[in-house]
């Protein structure tokens, strides 16, 4: 049997809006995934190091401060540096449409804005991780 999907959920940057990330954390856990939540105010370095240490399949970063371009650029650079090709990077929060192509180019695979159902996130992660694990 496959090992359960391991997900690191993180709040990066300075904003303290953790309602969404906590709801997602519970929904992923209820869907059978192993969820590690970092808590608030993490630097990109802290997020990537925690992901390495915890050997996760997925990193989900929640940002509602508008600093998503800066923070995801740093996270994706660090992930490349550490060779984390098989880790799925996702983003959630207030992210304007016009920034989405740029984030995709950096390597953020999925972006989930306000109004997304947790079911949609669960299904997305399941199918993407299955693909990544081959």
């Amino acid at each position: 049997m496959d090992r359960p999907i391991r997900v690191l959920l993180a709040k990066a940057g300075l904003d303290g809006h953790d309602r969404g990330v906590k709801v997602v954390a519970r929904a992923l856990r209820d869907a059978g995934m192993e969820v590690i939540y970092t808590g608030l105010h993490n630097t990109p370095e802290q997020v990537v190091k925690a992901a390495l240490q915890e050997d996760v399949d997925v990193i989900g970063v929640s940002i509602l401060s508008g600093a998503h371009l800066t923070i995801f650029r740093k996270i994706t650079e660090l992930m490349k540096q550490y060779g984390m090709k098989d880790v799925l990077l996702l983003g959630g929060g207030i992210i304007p449409d016009e920034d989405k192509p740029l984030l995709t180019e950096m390597g953020v695979k999925g972006l989930f804005g306000p109004g997304t159902s947790t079911q949609e996130i669960v299904e997305y992660i399941k199918s993407e991780v299955k693909r990544l694990r081959g």
């Binding site: 904003d15 303290g16 309602r19 105010h41 600093a67 923070i71």
Partner: protein, 542 residues
């Protein structure tokens, strides 16, 4: 007989059950004088002023701030030209967290969520051409509140405005930060000391300034129910009163300088009942529990903001209607000031056009609808009175639980609840329940889980973006200030502040001195970090 109803049960958005019909049977114990009284009279259920909006309308106060102080100064002037009657300042995340614009953690956040402020130089630009004796200004800031409050006083001093003429509000409510909004510098107990420093200083120096805005808004946004919002906020208010009494402050001088801040959410009547219950509970607590004698101490004065979390990214123009209903609830609930959200705020900071529509919404309610022409028009409704009683009853139950956690002290109960995660768990649980109701379709959100449309409307909205240049400019100005100021004076002021913190003297005069020497927000807050350490919340989502 058609007993068939649309749903098996009818609930508010906070899961309060609603009956088919309310009659005198629901108010059997009702006593007009005791439960309602007259506007401007104890227990103020119907409003805190004798004439309410017939005398003066509520203050239309749109929260604004983005970019550098130059951009925000322009937005302030624009809002005043458009008929706004009070200013309200939004700060960027680094300023809120007590960090300077050149701090590594500030990268990408400078001027993005609000205006960036590092030193008094920024405040001079922010209030350029705005005489402080002619406006009231509200500052949404908490951990670094003492620094910002000192900056406002310093600008008043520069303009030659007597301190007693300064009017406005500093949010300064750290308890709800630890409970819900999550902006902090130092741990809860020393944070409370700093708040009481502001009380003690402000009661003497700026007697017409609200020294705190005890806020339920963020608790609600974090996912709480209406009852939790009310109960936790009032408990926080009681904790502040107890902390002030411990310092030996006079409740009847402090009482009139306390203000509140609530959310106006979707369930229309529940919100109105919440505002009415809030006034009645606070009046009784202040008079009966804490022995306040000044009627102004009994009055719960509050600001309202419509619920940001109800705004949808999908079909954003629908948000105008949501905001209208929420604003109407705030007005029918007797608010003293109001911020209406802009329809594009699930996408980004609001554009000028969106802000104008939000302000016009208030103006239409005020001048066209006629709802402001009589006081508490829903008073006496079987339904609204029964709901007011029910919300009061449930809120008091929570307050009792908090009191038990503190062994009879609300102050200790609130601190214990923060430290053991009680509030955080209660709120996260309510948020998760709500999400499940949305996903099951029990809770309908128009445009999100019902009446969904292809997302074409969203594309047409022009959103506001903050120029990354702002960060560079802000850092450059900070460096220039640091180079030009007299650094010996700054060093001495910071040392004197540190000494005051260590000897438990009131820190406000020393913060003011440091601010006037152009010490930065980060430098001043670092003094507190050195002594008390930085707070970190244990990470938990359960």
């Amino acid at each position: 007989m058609s007993a068939q109803e649309r749903k098996s049960q009818f609930l508010t958005v906070s899961n309060l059950p609603i009956k088919r019909l309310y009659t005198p049977q629901d108010l059997t114990d009702f006593n007009y004088e005791r439960d309602l009284g007259y506007p401007g009279e104890y227990p103020f259920t119907r409003g805190i002023y004798h004439t309410m909006y017939r005398g003066r309308l509520w203050t239309m106060r749109q929260f604004a701030g983005f970019g550098g102080p130059e951009e925000t100064n322009q937005r302030f002037k624009y809002l005043l030209r458009e008929g706004q009657t009070g200013l309200s300042t939004a700060f960027d995340m680094p300023t809120l967290m007590g960090l300077d614009s050149d701090h590594p953690l500030a990268d990408g956040e400078v001027g993005v969520e609000g205006v960036a402020v590092d030193t008094l130089r920024d405040f001079e630009i922010l209030f350029e051409g705005i005489p402080l004796d002619q406006v009231t200004t509200s500052f949404t800031i908490n951990p670094s509140a003492p620094v910002i409050y000192a900056m406002y006083i310093a600008i008043g001093d520069q303009q030659g405005v007597p301190r007693e003429k300064l009017r406005g509000t500093i949010q300064n409510d750290m308890l709800k930060e630890f409970i819900a909004q999550k902006e902090w510098v130092i741990p809860p107990r020393p944070s409370l000391d700093l708040i009481v420093d502001i009380f003690e200083f402000g009661m003497k120096e700026t007697p017409n300034f609200n020294l705190i805005s005890i806020s339920g808004y963020h608790i609600r946004e974090a996912g709480s129910t209406a009852v939790q919002e009310l109960a936790f906020t009032l408990a926080d208010g009681m904790a502040y009163v107890e902390a002030a009494l411990k310092r030996g402050l006079d409740i009847d001088r402090l009482g009139p300088q306390l203000s509140f801040f609530f959310n106006a959410h979707n369930s229309f009547f529940e919100e109105i009942a919440k505002f009415r219950a809030a006034r009645r509970i606070w009046a009784r607590i202040m008079r009966e529990r804490y022995g306040a004698k000044n009627p102004d101490s009994w009055k719960l004065r509050f600001h309202t903001q419509t619920a940001g979390c109800t705004l949808t990214e999908q079909q954003p123009l629908n948000n105008i209607i949501r905001v209208t209903l929420q604003a109407l609830a705030a007005v029918l609930g007797g608010t003293q000031s109001l911020h209406t959200n802009s329809y594009d705020e699930a996408l980004a900071l609001p554009s000028e056009e969106a802000v104008r529509i939000a302000l016009r919404t208030q103006q239409i309610i005020a001048y066209e609808s006629g709802v402001a022409d009589t006081i508490d028009p829903l008073g006496g409704s079987y339904f609204v009175e029964a709901l007011t009683n029910e919300i009061e009853r449930r809120a008091l139950e929570y307050i009792k639980r908090i009191e038990e956690m503190g062994g009879g002290s609300i102050l200790e109960g609130v601190l214990a609840g923060i430290e053991n995660g009680f509030f955080q768990r209660e709120i996260a649980q309510a948020a998760y329940e709500y999400q499940k109701q949305v996903e099951s379709g029990d809770q309908i959100i128009v445009g999100v889980n019902r009446y969904v449309m292809p997302e074409d409307e969203k594309k047409k909205i022009k959103i506001l973006r903050v120029d990354p240049e702002v960060q560079r400019r802000q850092i450059e100005r900070l460096r220039r200030v640091r180079a030009e100021r007299d650094n010996r004076v700054v060093k001495r002021a910071l040392e004197r502040l540190e000494e005051a913190v260590r000897t438990r003297e009131n820190t406000m005069p020393y913060i003011l001195e440091a601010v006037k020497a152009y010490a930065s927000v980060g430098e001043i807050m670092d003094v507190f970090r050195r002594i008390y350490g930085s707070y970190r919340e244990p990470a938990s989502f359960a």
